[in-house]
Amino acid sequence: MLEINNLYASIEGKEILKGINLTVNPGEVHAIMGPNGSGKSTLAAVLAGRDLFEVTEGSAEFLGNNLLELSPEDRARMGLFLGFQYPVEIPGVSMVNFMKTAINEQRKYNNLEPLSASDFLKLMREKKEIVEITSSLTNRSVNEGFSGGEKKKNEIFQMAMLEPKLAILDETDSGLDIDALRIVANGVNKLRTKHNATIVITHYQRLLDYIVPDYVHVLYKGKIVKSSGKELALELEEKGYDWIKEQY
């Protein structure tokens, strides 16, 4: 599904990613861990098409397409979803309008008729339950005035709405209390099928108690320096990142 080869990326001339290799297949959950500043969020942003970063070398294929050539919206329409570490507040744009536009753009891309207003609202109601959002989103602007936990829940809610093939969750656990963490993780688990895949980017092992990964990768200084099964996360939890730093 996703095939990253020798990917290099930099920002304002400063190289952040230095040769990433990663393959993700349908049904898999990958965890990418690593100390602060190792390039985890950059990788997520580059895959989603943030133009702040310049890809200088390497390739990334998504469902057989050259991902790096596509606009961010086309990547999204193809089924790539990024759960933002810091979801952006957009005053004046209501959640309903935002999601309706997004869903219908995706449907248009897939040659489907736009959803009727009632079907759309029904869908919203259904999906809200997955992440236990109780408040009305109708009158609220995108992420504006949301608490930290609400913002993260809102990311998972959007993921549920858009049903991506590959979801990249960037530090979705940061700033969450234990209840919110459980809700977010449950949401992700409910959305898991054998046809989609998830990349969970996290600093701590905590989230991986809830979302059990098939593979754990350690990103350090812009490279994946270690890949293994879920036991690697526990090892990191126990030893910290220092032993990785010493080795590489």
């Binding site: 989603a48 098409g49 943030r50 133009d51 606009s71 961010p72 919206e73 990547r75 999204a76 329409r77 979803f81 990024l82 933002f84 979801p87 952006v88 507040e89 957009i90 005053p91 004046g92 744009v93 309008n97 935002f98 999601m99 536009t101 997004a102 753009e105 995706q106 891309y109 602007s141 995108v142 959007q158 858009l162």
Partner: protein
């Protein structure tokens, strides 16, 4: 002689040579103050960049260069009102009056208004209701505050007169359509007078249109008196062609406990300059001044406000937002002025602008002038771009770049639109703004008044 000086000269001559004809229309009360306005005009001259209030509005390219005529009598044109407009915004449908080239259209249909309410041409009113007009006409406008206001008064022969007696509430909004329609380039002057007595309530929508591609220079002046505890909603929609210029002066005078909301939406026009003067002259009065302007090509849109807090316990709120594209220029020049005895004043002012192109230009000058310590005043101004983080976030959800931009521009504009109180009108304006932001003509869907570029 500069172009502006020769224009000034031309206007002075025009006035002097045609005074008899200007004064011959049925407008005795309007004639009374013509000469003092003329003196003010001669003294102040047409504003240039050296005039502090016009520092950022260069009138010259818009007012000079073409030949203009002055229509000194109403256009003897018969129009089928049904053909021209059948505005079907349900709540707005009933009360429409047309003003053609500055003259109240003679064949406007009779309106269904509550007892005692008067809506007619100002000239007509000055003959039919001299006492009412005399009591208010010229009492709130200050021709010395702006020479273009003086110019309006010199030439204006007609306009709209609306009178709402004490305790009368007009439920349906009144829509005044100001149309410029001519086979030659013309100057239009009109004066409006709106009087709401104590506890009265009304909403008025002004739609300013040009009906053909000719060039119009419109000078308008509107005086609004809002009595104690009266409530007045005023929406102004400006949608003229790019060859046309409009300079409007609005003077609002408010008594104790009154509330006015003034929403100016400048969607299209070559030059649009709106001067808004508000005097809060009674305790607990409230004034809301909102504005949105969307300028592109070589348009210039400018807002000048002067909110004068003259009595204690008043509040004022100002929000003006602008989006500028291509070579458009814009300016905001706003002032909150608080008198020494106007204690417990709350006054806010904000101006936000977005530049969409490298050749667009915005100048802003928000000002506070405060002579009293017991106040809460603040102002803010920003000039920037669409938020790139937000753009990316929206696109990452599969929404196309142009659509994402549109969403953000609309969200930016919506803060002003959402202040419009009439639901039906707000919905219609949302559509118009949306179209305008997509670069389409922003005519009402069901109104045949299409402004032509």
């Amino acid at each position: 002689m500069t172009k502006i000086e020769s224009l000034q000269h031309e206007l002075v001559e025009l006035y002097t040579n045609n005074l008899a004809e200007i004064s011959s229309f049925d407008n005795p009360l309007m004639n009374n103050i013509r000469n003092s306005a003329f003196e003010s005009f001669k003294q102040l001259g047409i504003p240039t960049r050296k005039t502090e209030a016009y520092k950022y509005t260069n009138l010259e390219p818009y007012l000079t260069g073409l030949e203009y005529q002055y229509d000194l009598s109403p256009l003897s044109l018969e129009v089928n009102l049904d053909d021209i407009f059948h505005c079907d915004i349900p709540e707005l449908a009933t009360q429409i009056a047309l003003v053609l080239n500055g003259f109240y259209y003679r064949h406007n249909r009779p309106l269904n208004l509550p007892r005692g309410v008067i809506l007619c041409g100002l000239a007509e009113a000055s003959v039919k209701y001299p006492e009412l007009v005399q009591k208010h006409y010229g009492k709130y406008a200050d021709e010395k505050a702006d020479s273009m206001a003086a110019l309006t008064t010199m030439f204006a022969q007609d306009g709209v007169f609306l009178y709402v007696p004490e305790n009368v509430v007009i439920e349906t909004p009144i829509q005044i359509i100001n149309v410029g329609y001519s086979i030659k380039n013309i100057r239009i002057s009109r004066r409006n007078l709106i009087v709401l007595e104590d506890n009265a309530r009304a909403s008025v929508l002004f739609c300013d249109h040009t009906m053909c591609a000719k060039s119009f220079i419109t000078n308008s002046l509107t005086e609004i008196f809002v009595g104690e505890n009266a409530n007045f909603d005023f929406v102004r929609l400006q949608n003229e062609n790019s060859n046309s210029s409009q300079i409007s002066n609005t003077f609002i005078y408010q008594k104790a406990g009154s509330v006015t909301t003034n929403n100016t939406l400048s969607l299209h026009g070559g030059l649009i300059r709106n001067n808004i003067f508000v005097k809060l002259d009674g305790e607990n009065a409230a004034s809301n001044t909102y504005g949105l302007f969307l300028a592109d090509s070589e348009q210039h849109m400018s807002t000048y406000t002067y909110i004068h807090h003259a009595k204690p316990h008043c509040t004022s709120d100002q929000l003006v937002k602008g989006i500028l594209d291509n070579m458009a220029t814009g300016s905001f020049n706003g002032k909150i002025y608080v008198d020494n005895y106007a204690v417990k004043t709350s006054a806010y002012q904000r101006n936000n602008n977005i530049l969409l192109s490298g050749t667009a230009k915005m100048n802003t000058k928000p000002q506070l002038e405060i002579y009293n310590d017991d106040v809460k005043c603040s102002h803010g101004a920003t000039i920037g771009q669409l938020d790139t983080e937000a753009l990316f976030y929206i696109r990452s959800r599969g929404i196309a770049y142009t659509e994402a931009r549109q969403l953000l521009m609309y969200a930016f504009a919506n803060e002003v639109i959402s202040k419009i109180k009439l639901d039906a009108l707000r919905e219609r304006i949302i559509e118009m703004v949306d179209k305008r932001l997509r670069g389409e003509l922003a005519a009402c869907a069901n109104c045949n008044i299409v402004h032509k570029n």
